[in-house]
Amino acid sequence: MIESCLSVPIKLLHKFNVWVIFPAIILVVLSDIILRTFFNSPLFWAHEILGLLLLCLFFLELPNSFQKSELLSVDLLYKRFGPFGRTFSYRLSCLLMTLFSLLLVWQGSIGVSDSLEYDEQAFTLPIPFWPFYALIALSGLVIFFQSLARLFVSSSVIDSVQGGSSVAGELNDLGAQEK
């Protein structure tokens, strides 16, 4: 239920990445090269802005990666686990993901409050940092609800939601691409 409710904002974040952030990165890099090479006037703010865009790219995409179970893992022993072992591994994974997301929310919130208090902003352009910390916290919050929802699924559905960027996962991805 929670997962299906979350899938809409996760898709929106992913689409924002695909339509806005990624093209913006390409645009800034190419503009910088062209301006530097042909007009000898590089974009002095390019490095810093690209760093911030990269942050957006990663944290907007993270909930989508988690939803698709694409984070890299090793399933060497997992394949030999029985049903109990698999359930344990799955729930532990969700629990640790919940902790990870809380760390993101916590540090993002501290970042927002600190950057607002000390008026932290980029060196080259007057762009405040607090929205970027807020993005980290937001990404963490979405992952928190995702992992919490997965933590309490019944054992019978665990096998069906297992994916992962393990060998099996990558082969599934390839199969999907070929189809």
């Binding site: 339509w19 390409i26 760093g51 944290f59 992962g164 390839l174």
Partner: protein, 435 residues
């Protein structure tokens, strides 16, 4: 508890979590955070995590990652491998083991655009396997050469593992890319030489292919030109210092895009699909990088890395013996971990040790990538072999592994040569700097 023992317990915790199939990046963050909290206190652990997250997420060097990944995805989506295959097939098809040679040459070329061995094996496998079956190639030779040739993709620049290594160790990406060229070409030539000799001795393994006229051969070069131009644009701009790796990546992306447009293989769906996959792949690598950096900082604080280096130095073992031990360690780790897992888990310890022994960081980057290559074609994980089997499900996994054995031995020979003659990797970057 001493700082070193806290570090030691954290490593054990990390390994247990990884073996329990916790995503590697998350396991690194959690093990590092618990260790940090025990060692420095909860508040300091949060501050450390905050600092590392910001530093890694805004690391300008990492911008190369989504760019090269996208370049590879675009090249894959626009069937550039097909052009390479059709051209090389016309030139090498009649040679002993011609189709296997075609697979090696095409994989090396395709790898020089995609930087991904999985993509290379999948693309080349789907194109070449039906042909190899038609000519009744030996299954072991056919699948083994295809699976093994895929490893060339991550050695010949651009290479995603090299970007990862460079960003992690703060080694010049340009130097790393240029250093990968000679070993990559040498390994490809070794593979080709082996196939040629083996098939000359046992022609039944690989019946001769179709004959093509000189006009057809020359005509096929026209299709090769756009891909070659993109490859050369990237490599030469790096070699002559015209572009930074980030700029070279952008140039490569623009090149692949233009080629795709000219060949009418690019549309909005292809572009958006490739961006979507690139964003996902880059984020996966980012999580690993974040976790690895956080854990590595913690290890440095506990002084565990330094004491380990001191203990090994105190043994006064010859550096080459230590390198042999590192080779064995990577062979073992390759059996249980994937590409980035291997890099992220070993570099915090092995990189300072190797530097303290006087080895060059650029050389070591190439060495690490070659060890990763081996893990891609050796059991039990051998991702290239699994991908190959997904292409030809009727051929057993054991046949593909057996077919890969000669290529594994050749790669080991190349590693030995690289250790004995570091100039193989370092000569070209030195030339580049002197230019």
């Amino acid at each position: 508890m001493t700082p070193q023992s806290i570090g030691g317990v954290s490593i054990v915790l990390l390994l247990v979590l990884i073996l329990l199939r916790i995503p590697i990046g998350i396991a690194l963050v959690i093990a590092g955070f618990i260790g940090n909290a025990v060692f420095l206190g909860f508040h300091s652990a949060i501050v450390q995590f905050q600092l590392v997250t910001w530093e890694v997420a805004t690391n300008f060097v990492l911008i190369t990652l989504p760019l090269f990944v996208w370049m590879g995805q675009l090249a894959e989506s626009t069937d550039m491998g097909k052009d390479l295959y059709s051209s090389f097939h016309k030139w090498f098809g009649r040679a002993p083991g011609g189709l296997a040679i075609t697979s090696i040459a095409s994989s090396a070329g395709f790898g020089a655009i995609t930087g991904s061995s999985v993509a290379t094996v999948s693309a080349m496998g789907n194109m070449l396997m039906p042909e190899m079956k038609r000519y009744r190639y030996d299954s072991g030779l056919a699948t083994g050469s295809l699976a093994s040739a895929g490893v060339l993709a991550i050695l010949i620049p651009p290479s995603v593992p090299l970007v990862f290594y460079g960003a992690w160790t703060e080694t010049s990406l340009g130097d790393l890319f240029i250093a990968g060229i000679v070993p990559g070409i040498m390994l490809a030539l070794l593979f080709i030489l082996y196939v040629c000799l083996h098939c000359s001795i046992k022609p039944s393994l690989a019946p001769k292919g179709e004959h093509f006229t000189w006009s057809a051969k020359l005509h096929s070069l026209i299709h090769l030109l756009p891909i070659l131009s993109v490859m050369l644009m990237v490599l030469l701009s790096l070699y002559f210092g015209i572009a930074t790796p980030t700029e070279a990546a952008a140039v490569g992306v623009a090149g692949v895009f233009v080629v795709g447009l000219i060949r009418r293989r690019i549309n909005l769906k292809v572009v958006l699909g490739s961006i979507s996959q690139s964003a996902a792949l880059s984020t996966n690598i980012f999580v690993l990088f974040l976790g690895g950096m956080f854990f590595s900082r913690f290890m440095a604080q506990t002084d565990l890395t330094q004491s380990m280096i001191s203990s090994i130095s105190a043994l006064t073992l010859p550096p080459y013996l230590i390198m042999m031990m590192i080779v064995l360690m990577y062979l073992f780790l390759g059996a249980i971990l994937d590409t980035f897992g291997m890099i992220i888990l070993t570099l915090p310890f092995v990189f300072p040790l190797v530097l303290s022994l006087g080895f060059d960081p650029v050389w070591f980057g190439i060495f690490v990538v070659m060890m990763i290559e081996l893990s891609l074609i050796t059991p039990p994980i051998g991702i290239n072999v699994f991908v190959m089997q997904s292409v030809v499900p009727d051929i057993p996994l054991s046949t593909i592994y057996q077919g890969s054995i000669p290529f594994v031995l050749l790669t080991l020979l190349m590693v030995a040569l690289l250790i004995a003659f570091p100039e193989i990797a370092l000569w070209l970057p030195a030339q580049m700097k002197s230019n």
